[in-house]
């Protein structure tokens, strides 16, 4: 029983990690590096968008990603009774 519980918990955890790391990759390596030139055609105030992602935006998203993970995992810990 506890073994199955642990397995299910781990599976959900891995799913969260994969989704969040996908976002992590898209904002930094995607928007900030690979698609930078295309995004640079769009302007955000004085910023070219690709440049903004590389030097500002990706970092803000990194912070948000960690706090989202903290919230998701605190909930998951409760759901599976691992929050003791």
């Amino acid at each position: 029983m506890t073994k199955n519980n642990a397995k299910a918990y781990w599976k959900e955890n891995i799913r969260y990690v994969i989704i969040l790391l996908l976002v992590w990759f898209l904002v930094s390596y995607g928007a900030g590096i690979i698609f930078k030139d295309t995004l640079n055609k769009i302007k955000l105030g004085g910023f070219k968008l690709g440049f903004w992602f590389a030097q500002q935006g990706s970092m803000y998203v990194f912070v948000i990603l960690i706090f989202v993970y903290v919230r998701l995992m605190n909930k998951l810990d409760k759901k599976y009774g691992y929050d003791a």
């Binding site: 803000y60 960690i66 995992m73």
Partner: protein, 575 residues
């Protein structure tokens, strides 16, 4: 009121610096005396009782070194877009830490990174390889910090660099040896406050002067305050191309190299032992996740300001000096000329400063560190702000040095002496050994600070590649791949670190050839700074292939893996 302002003005930069540096050093020593470590658990992991907020602040200070504080904005101001490799590379690693490493290593609940490698891979050889990697990474890194302390002292207090290094050594020695991780943690909390205040105050002042916006992160995307309606970045792009440089927002590195360097820095960050070990100091697994988030938030405050400072400083500098008669230059220009951080050679003898991309016509060489150090003077800020920058630079260098010294001393006293050479050593004996190895480590670091081998500066940036090539894959596979065994992990670490060292020696130091090989010979066009990514991939491949042909790990080790995947019952760190 009037009198106090006059008094403050008459104090001068030098005296302000003595006062502020004196106050901060007194605080560090006070904390050391208050937080003496009485057990190895307190010495190595601060008794695993640090709150997530305190640990987040300590991690941020531990992480942001003299390089982040003094050099990074300057590097970016000369690199433009390419500077993003440092910005994303040195922050994105925290996402990997929070999602892939910190919670599980905290649950594992030991003292050091080699502890995890040694136990998970049930092998003294694995532990030894990990100790070797930890020492290699930490020593290359700490030498640069001690040098940074010396440089700040010499520039602001006009003492000799070596005297500066020795003063720094004595301070670190005092609080690291006495307080261990406990002392280091609480000094780092204070050091974070000092360094972030010292970085933000000039940045906010300059942002208001140039763009009218008090928030630097918004100011550098805003319009100039001169009422011209031109965006600051457009102006800088224009100035750059006029002088023959690449457009500031475009950069000049190849896409694959930018990609590889960013990844090597991110993974390296997540694999640096002095960062990882900070997450052993909190109470519970959930605290480890949370403090990673707080740490990154606190780091990002400085890291999103740095590119703004870079743009302000570069625009300011070009406008102030480019095509101006030498006799009209402001006072700060002459002052920094005496330190040789600004060098003007009037090649065509017209008395006018030509600052252009073309090497043969360029007459001005500017050291990148000046962008942060001279910023308050360039913007005519009061003396106390200039002194504050000195105190901030010292806080940044000292906090990082202390964190690294602890990793070195724990590697020696815990991993080498207690776990391999003399397991029968008593708790008291190990604590003495830990303190003695900290003293030894400070002396070695100080020696390299005073006599920096020519290649130290080049190698510091590569500490990340080394960490990415060795620890990161071994730890990740140890957590996420139950079948991974000692044969695979050891082979992977050895291949990764050897590949990284060889590439570095060939293409960064040039020791294999008479001359440094040209960029065109780089593998896949990847620079030595980015090669950590390739070495990491090699490590993963070798680990998995070797694992396929060797026996699965014993049952109790597989149980360790199942145990660390579940957050509850992290308990206290034990031997």
């Amino acid at each position: 009121m009037m009198l106090s302002i006059m008094l403050a003005e008459s104090l001068g930069v030098q005296n302000w610096t003595y006062i502020l540096v004196g106050i901060t050093f007194t605080i560090y020593i006070g904390i050391a005396i208050w937080s003496r470590a009485n057990s190895t658990k307190e010495f190595y992991v601060a008794g695993a009782g640090v709150s997530p907020l305190a640990n987040g602040m300590a991690t941020a200070a531990d992480w942001m070194s003299a390089a982040s504080f003094i050099s990074m904005a300057g590097i970016i101001s000369f690199a433009g877009y390419d500077g993003a490799v440092y910005l994303m590379g040195w922050t994105g690693g925290y996402v990997l830490l929070a999602l892939l490493l910190a919670p599980y290593l905290r649950k594992f609940g030991k003292f050091t990174v080699p502890d995890f490698i040694g136990d998970r891979y049930y092998s003294k050889t694995a532990r030894l390889v990990a100790v070797f990697c930890a020492l290699l990474v930490s020593f290359t890194y700490v030498a640069g910090q001690m040098r940074g302390v010396g440089i700040v002292f010499s520039r602001f207090l006009e003492v000799d660099i070596n005297t500066g290094v020795i003063i720094g050594m004595l301070i670190v020695l005092f609080y690291a040896v006495l307080g261990g991780m406990k002392g280091i943690t609480y000094t780092q909390v204070v050091q974070y406050c000092i360094l972030i205040f010292a970085f933000m105050v000039p940045a906010i002042f300059i942002s208001i002067q140039m763009t009218g916006n008090p928030i630097p992160q918004l100011g550098f995307g805003g319009e100039l305050a001169d009422g011209s309606g031109t965006y600051l970045l457009d102006k800088l792009d224009g100035l750059s191309t006029e002088l023959g440089f690449a457009e500031y927002t475009e950069g000049s590195k190849s896409l694959i190299d930018v990609f590889a360097i960013t990844l090597a820095l991110m993974v390296g960050t997540a694999g640096l032992p002095h960062v990882i070990v900070r997450f052993f100091t909190v109470k519970r697994v959930k605290d480890a996740r949370k403090s990673a988030g707080i740490a990154l938030l606190l780091i990002v405050i400085l890291y999103t300001t740095a590119p703004a400072v870079a743009v302000f400083a570069r625009t300011n500098m070009i406008e102030t000096v480019s095509n101006q008669p030498y006799e009209n230059v402001p006072e700060w220009f002459k002052k920094w000329e005496t330190t040789e951080l600004i060098v003007f050679t009037d090649k065509n003898n017209d008395g006018i400063i030509q600052y252009v991309a073309d090497e043969s016509k360029n007459e001005l060489v500017v050291d990148r560190d000046i962008m942060v150090l001279a910023n308050p003077e360039i913007a005519n800020l009061p003396n106390w702000v200039i002194a504050l920058v000195a105190a901030g630079g010292l806080a940044a260098a000292l906090s990082t040095a202390a964190g690294l010294l602890l990793v070195i001393s724990a590697s020696v006293s815990h991993d080498l002496i207690k776990k391999i050479i003399k397991p029968s050593i008593s708790e008291k004996g190990e604590l003495v050994a830990a303190r003695l190895s900290a003293v030894g480590a400070v002396c070695v670091a100080g020696y390299f600070g005073i006599n920096p081998p020519g290649f130290v500066a080049a190698v510091v940036a590569l500490a990340f590649g080394l960490a990415a090539a060795s620890f990161f894959p071994a730890i990740i596979l140890g957590i996420f791949y139950k079948r991974m065994n000692k044969e695979g992990a050891i082979a992977g670490m050895v291949v990764g670190i050897v590949a990284m060292l060889l590439y570095m020696i060939k293409y960064k130091l040039g020791w294999f050839d008479d001359v440094l090989p040209d960029k065109s010979e780089w593998w896949f066009g990847i620079s030595p700074e980015g090669f950590g990514t390739v070495a990491m991939v090699l490590n993963f491949i070798v680990s998995i292939v070797i694992m396929r042909f060797t026996p699965a790990p014993p049952k109790d080790v597989q149980e360790i893996v199942e145990h660390i995947r579940i957050p509850s019952g992290a308990g206290q760190a034990t031997h």
